[in-house]
Assembly symmetry: C2
Homo-oligomer: 369 residues x 2
């Protein structure tokens, strides 16, 4: 009889997300309007597609385990050194490394209750102790409570996504700088900037490196390469040296490196995506207003629309999938659980969503109506 | 001042492999004859390339986190259930999961000294205790010693690659079955079958599932998709349930799943690769004989050629890179460290290697000459 390691045996099974393919299998549908995972509806850059197509024959070669060319380009983009950039198989991968490196079994990792659940998955998986701050009722992060809890619980790591997922809210440069200074200085601040491409770089915490700051970015959102699994972390050479000791050296797909590098050279495409996403957000706000529903102002490629109560939000989400093949998600915990979260689609996807949403919202009454 | 978790702090830095891109940067070469990493010189299946090319635009979508279609095809191929197949980002990824799940800090993991070093990397990384059996002087695995050491050290996991890397030797079905029965039954047997496609399925341990057996396979070798990072494990639903608790659910590239699925349908291509590889091995044996050098009979897509002593083997490997841009590797530890290991190339690559090898071998004298 074999037995798992005690730490692994103790983990409660948890699937961070159910994928749309599973939902298609369950509902017997052969396609969905995919607005549930904040994938880019605008696809990868044509330049990235061309570059990857040209290299498919060479997929028999392992990718460069150092992702050197890509890291050079990223260092240029961010004005840091190549030794301060680490490439991984998406932010989820890098997040796992940061948790494994800095959250010893029993140590506290602090996040906002209801924020990106993959952080929780990793903390659970490495035997850390999850501690929480709460969203403010307006869907914004509570930076004061984060500092209070970090101090009280002697947190080893604080996680925060900015812009935030699933709320879409944003903490600007000055507020973020005050927060970073106010937190205990022996804490690793894991700053997930997956959605940073949708705001101005000048409104973000200025790019600099220090040991207690690990910021992560991705090619999954504005660059439209979610399926490629590629992202990066920026921090000090010392911290990267620690992550180097545990990372999967051959974990990143060769073509993902090539696509990411080509994407970086296509700034007009990224701007086009950012503008298209901004228009999609406006359309979703307007749709909400038309139906008497508020939205949280978003700084990302998705919008949270307020259905008034959690059960109605769940019923709307389920009816959209079941009756219309429109796949969205919703936050699972208060105070955000009365919202549905819709990713920015192309104009035809938005029309399909709007028609289905009007239909479903009118059919699912509010508890408070 | 931030501090890593004690277990991570204690890890000695170790890079399992230096990639050819790094060697190109160091030597200032813009290309190499790549015969060092047992990549397939015969590329991916044209069917896989076509399938992946058609889906590049949809790389904005995350891949199915369950890899369901691929697992279905693999279950059909191997006559097992879909719940008994787990897809990961290459065997390295799956190996990390198996070690994390079954080798608690301080527990013993047994391998053959000088065999595939990524296993050692993971055991190190999760705080396990590496214990070793030794290769026999003929380059074969010592199954008796593996059983003795596993019993004495109360190993939690035994790792073995069959066919073996870097020796290329093979343990056939009957011998493997005796070994599997002789080892303590509370040990997880991690059977790495990365090179299984180069031998007849009928000569391998029969396909069956039980908790104490995790076998891994890959699309990196015969299927020519090393850069895609995709492999799979076959074991019981119970063991997969344990690995599910810790795996990176969105870790596999979407296009890798598509390429792997298409590859499975192209059995003529795989046979063509296997035959081409067999011819390459014959060419390498013949080249060795011409130069008075023995080779280990190989059941893989590489051959170990005997240079007589470790320093000569190292000098030959280095001269091939430096003077000819021919990249090979060599085993690092006795008794295999007097060999160089050459991957099966295309006929032009073999010619380039042969010309360079003749030149270098005659220029680097044997210590015993």
């Amino acid at each position: 009889m074999i037995r798992p390691a005690p730490l692994v045996e103790a983990i409660e099974p948890m699937t961070p997300f159910i994928g749309p393919e599973e939902l298609m299998r369950e509902t017997g549908r052969s396609s969905l309007v995919r607005l549930g995972a904040n994938e880019s509806a605008f696809g990868p850059s044509p330049r990235a597609v061309t570059a990857m197509a040209a290299e498919l024959e060479r997929l028999a070669w392992y990718g460069d385990p150092e992702s050197y060319e890509l890291r050079e380009a990223l260092a240029r983009k961010h004005g840091c050194r190549v030794e301060e950039v680490l490439v991984g198989a998406g932010i989820d991968d890098l997040m796992g490394l940061a948790v494994r490196a800095f959250v010893a079994p029993g140590a506290a990792a602090l996040t906002t209750r209801g924020s990106y659940p993959t952080l929780n998955y990793h903390v659970n998986g490495y035997g850390g102790r999850l501690v929480y701050a709460h969203y403010r009722t307006d869907g914004r992060l509570d930076l004061d409570e984060l500092v209070t809890v970090a101090t009280r619980e002697r947190a080893a790591l604080i996680y925060l996504a900015n812009p935030d997922n699933p709320s879409g809210t944003f903490v600007d440069r000055n507020e973020m700088q005050r927060f970073f200074e106010a937190m205990p200085h022996d804490v690793v601040f894991l700053l997930d900037e997956a959605y940073a491409d949708f705001v101005d770089e000048s409104s973000l915490l200025p790019m600099h490196v220090e040991d207690r700051l690990i910021r992560t970015r991705t090619f999954s959102k504005a660059y439209g390469l979610a399926g490629a699994r590629i992202g990066y972390a920026i921090t000090t050479e010392r911290v990267i040296g620690i992550l180097q000791k545990i990372r999967l050296h051959y974990g990143v797909n060769r073509n993902a490196q090539i696509g990411a590098l080509a994407s970086l050279s296509d700034e007009p495409f990224r701007r086009h995506v950012v503008e298209s996403v901004a228009q999609a957000r406006e359309d979703y706000y307007a749709l909400g207003r038309e139906l008497g529903l508020g939205s949280i102002e978003s700084f990302t490629n998705f919008v949270c629309i307020d259905l008034g109560d959690p059960s109605r939000a769940t019923a709307v989400m389920n009816a959209l999938l079941r009756d219309h093949g429109v796949w969205i998600r919703k936050p699972g915990l208060p105070p955000l659980d009365r919202y549905v979260r819709v990713s920015a689609g192309t104009p035809p996807m938005r029309e399909a969503f709007a028609a289905a949403f009007r239909d479903v919202v009118s059919a699912v009454p509010s508890l408070h109506a």
